[in-house]
Amino acid sequence: MKTGKKSNADQNDLIIRFLNGEASDQEITLLREWINQSAENREEFIQMKISWMASVQMQKCNPDDIQKALLQLNHKIRERGKIATERRIHRLRYISKIAAAIILFISIGSAGTYFLLKNKITDSTVRSDNTIHVYAPKGSKAITILPDGTKVWLNAGTDIMYNTSLFGKNERQVTLIGEGFFKVATNPDKPFIVNAKNLKIRALGTEFNVKAYPEEDNVETTLIKGIIKVDGKDRNKKPFSITLKPNQQIKFHAGKATINSVVLTDPGKVGIEKLREIKLENLITDLAMSPVINNLERTDLYTSWKDENWIFKGEKISELAVLLERRFNVKILFNSEELKEYRFTGTFHNETLEQVLQVLKLTAPLQYEIGKGTVTLKLDSKLKMKYNKYIDSE
């Protein structure tokens, strides 16, 4: 009786060790024999197995691991969607469900993300080009997660491209046209590189903002956290390499890149290969100036756009107009040069175009007229006189 009980305990122990993957080959053979000996034994084994299986539900991994897995899964969903569509057509715009897969964490009201998928043979090296575009059209913003977990906020009218087969191989390269805020997933072995106009911005794990709209001459890089290195060539084609510290900003006059505006109007119409060629041309013809480094008191002036906040400090109305054009997808016209020089300081949140214009009206002597896709700003002479009086009396 006693020995029977003991062997019973041993048997239980063996089952548990088997379930935990610790039983030796010999023990597994013994266990199999025991299970096949009687229906009772078999039942006992099954009950142990069920207990073991069911207890797995309480397993809780590290939330970071789960988050990482979710990102991987999102990437898989995206890749699979891509293969499915490539089979059917060359180019497809997704605004709907698959795009939603990559817009995580924050839902931005009017955010739209377009993927423009291409699979074409490019230039002389003949290789298939797996370039993925993430595009936030004018009038909307978007957030995307790159395959490595790096999070990118895209401001209105911004295009980000990367090559799926090269991204993450030795380094992580993306090309930016427009404005993006990058929260780079740390990976010291694979530097993260943003190509913006003719600058290369290298980062490890850090947070920074790059503004490189084709219609603006400057490339503006603002560092929030970590370290980045900016490489480029100046006017005399002399290479430079500048390391930025947090709260520093580098402005670089890169010249107008005319082709990029074409890309922005309809990225689908310009083949990737063409884009490359012309970009190369830009590199050669650009009259690049020397970079300027600014130390900033506050960086939120440059990054607030991603949080639905807009902070302005002494911004010219002409500059503000460019931002409004992108954000609301309108064309802003001035009928007075004088008006362009007025400066504005303030913060916007989720105001509509009309609300913003109302606020501007309070700070500058202007009248506005909203047309179909356009806004005309006019100098209001009466209001100007009134304002001047007010300013004089102060």
Partner: protein
């Protein structure tokens, strides 16, 4: 947020990403551990668990799931593990120790009643089992958790807690006995 199982199912079938992500976050860990019990490889376990979710998303509109979503997920992972091992038995696969698995596949995949998933893979069963573990004596509880949730072997646990391997053995048997008593009542 606490959602009922069929709300989750409905949410996913209409393409609600928030609900889908939530389901993923609640069940992924358990499913990985479950697959790891079969495959003895965390990488393969993660891959299979993610594939089950991928399948769920891609077929969200046509899936007809009769059981609970949770039971469905566990059953799917179980089936995929089985297929995975079958497919890999003839190959020499680095990830999983195929030879080893071959020797025990029949025992790992021993037939268990169909209704087990519905019975034991539910919020209620999870809570009951959790309470049962919670009520174990302190040392027993710690040992069980190290073994089950941190995938440590007996010698590793003994070393970690500076106790003898035979203590680990006794305490594990004790913990499993309690769980089995709980389970038995439902069978």
């Amino acid at each position: 947020m606490n959602l009922r199982d069929d709300d989750m199912l409905k949410g996913i079938s209409r393409g609600d990403r928030k609900i889908y992500d939530l389901v993923f976050k609640s069940y992924y860990s358990g499913l990985c551990a479950f697959a790891n019990d079969y495959l003895r490889s965390l990488d393969a376990a993660r891959e299979i668990s993610q594939d089950v979710f991928l399948y769920l998303w891609e077929n969200r509109s046509k899936l007809r799931i009769k059981s609970s979503l949770k039971a469905y997920l566990y059953r799917s992972v179980h089936n995929r593990c089985l297929n995975y091992i079958r497919d890999n038995l003839t190959l020499s696969h680095k990830e999983i120790r195929v030879d080893q698995l071959k020797k025990q596949a029949d025992l790992l995949f021993i037939e268990i009643p169909e209704d087990v998933y519905d019975k034991f893979f539910s919020e209620q069963a999870e809570q009951e089992l959790e309470t049962a573990i919670e009520l174990l004596p302190e040392q027993c509880k710690i040992i069980f958790r190290l073994c089950r949730y941190e995938n440590l072997t007996y010698p590793e646990i003994a070393k970690r807690l500076n106790i003898s391997p035979s203590t680990v053995k006794t305490q594990m048997s004790r913990a499993m006995k309690k769980l089995r008593e709980k389970i038995k009542r439902y069978l």
